[in-house]
Amino acid sequence: MKKVKVATVWLDGCSGCHMSLLDMDAAVISLSRKIDLVYGPLVDAQEFPEDVDVTLVEGAVSSQDDLNRVQKIRQRTNILISMGDCAVTGNVPAMRNSIPVQKLLQRVYVDGADEKKGVPSERVPALLKQARPLREFVKVDICLPGCPPPSKTIVGVINDLLDGKKPNGNLKVKFG
């Protein structure tokens, strides 16, 4: 059987959803026979591949880099999953949304520094005015809410997709 190509992406989030994914523990051993992890924080792939079957995206879209990345990922992915509250609603990264970006950066890098006060300006991407959910920029096929979503829910969806089934609409999700 041809292995299914799976990618994971970490935008503006805390990696807790990736940890929840890893919380499948030893189930990763049997899963590794069915999938190739072609891109993501756990692997060294250099470029987002052209024809990915399933991509799980953690985190809100918060910088210009994030935005460029999600557009490319959408073009190259068959099924795109918003994994966790930051990707689904903006969640904690969006707590900055009422504050002007310059004010936020000023607080951290000017008022919050003892030396070399100044906002970073070279080789760092510009922040967007607000951190926003993924679906405001690209079409999302499946949403998995939760902070983080339970491991069983994430793995359940992956297994449903591997079996060629439409993921169950009554997924066990949780608030917070």
Binding site: C14, H18, G40, D44, R69, Y109, A113, E115, P148
Partner: protein, 473 residues
Amino acid sequence: MKRITIEPVSRIEGHAKISIQLDDQGHVANTEFSVTQVRGFEKFTEGHPFYEMPGITARICGICPVSHLLASAKACDAIMAVRIPPVARKLRELVHFAQIVQSHALSFFYLSAPDFLLGMDSDPASRNVLGVIAGHPELAREGIELRKFGLLIVEGLAQERVHPSWIVPGGVATPLSGATRDRILSELPAAKGIAERTLQFFKGALDRYKEEIEFFGSFPTMYAGLVDVKGNVQLYDGGLRFRSATGEVVEDFVPAEEYSNYIGEASLRESYLKAPFFKPVGYPGGVYRVGPLGRLNAASQCGTPKADAEFKEFHQRFGTVAHSAFLYHYARLIEIVYALEKIEASLDDTRILDTHTRATAGVNALEGVGMIEAPRGTLIHHYKVNEEGAITWANLIVATGHNNLAIGRSVQQVSEHFIDGTKLTEGMLNRVSAVVRAYDPCLSCSTHASGLLAMQIRLLDAGGTVLDELTTD
């Protein structure tokens, strides 16, 4: 001048890029380590009730949420001016040791083992945890089990593995049940076996990494870590010790509320991660390192029998102050042994089942600082509140931040030694990433950064024209 960019650096917990400038002969002239996202917790938490801070700041990091929960709860305890019940302190320590085990296991087995087991120059397409599962199934299984053991304790105490709401200002929400204690104790011997086998394996393999030990961030710096009054490693409490590059204790037992007399922060033009420095020396000379290597260099001993034997052997091999960043891996494995010994000792104490787990109080002080040793090093949460308990100001100094200057210098050293700009290979650049991995930087913590995705390597000339590009199909 040509420039190489490694972006993002892979298999680290966050999003970073490395920029390497080459001179006309292809030698490394200059390097920069940049972290590329920021969330601004210090600003957007203003106005929130202080007791929400543990829950909000846990979301800084999904790998070590327990660290932020603990540092935050300690800052809140100070605002309430309470001494938490004895069992609450014991349970906080227990969950913290468990977190050290899971976080160190993640770093070693999931992120860095592919370099050790499959090789720095191996095929990048399979140089990852799935490649380890395929090529070294037994070791992979043990790594998964060890991480799971740590999380079994977190879940047993706090009902959730990621972002539990069990650690609260004033203590912890619920006591430990006898059944959970017995289950943890029944699985402990297996975890200890894995930790010891892995440490023996790594020590046996050290001879293969002589070049990495010599050139992976191997330079004299100061080190810092929490210790108790006897100089034992402390993870949850204690005072901060700074030890000089030549082994003298420079400052000892600095209490949490005095951190800002010793630690300053500098902004960097090319990174969203600020660079803390040792204030008495100043910036940029006041470089110090924290984390497993920082702790084992700063402390006089661990304070548990097996870990102390390992501590002694470690320093016999590499000196009173061990300076190579490659040795972070070694120190991490010793700390797993230490944490498992501490878990056993806490559970053998019957008072661990006491049921008065929480103190309650309102605002009794307008300022509070919490300081702990997170898996990656010293973590400081500092809050100011108004009479109603709303946050008016917050400062967070996270573990990876302290190492920022040292990581930058390590990238420079590895680049100078391993990179030949006339004949670039992927393996050369993987070594540059691998030295960053050795620090186990949590860039999610440090700036609340975005994901570390693919590694893109391009050689550009001064005008930005692509001269060489490395891609694997």
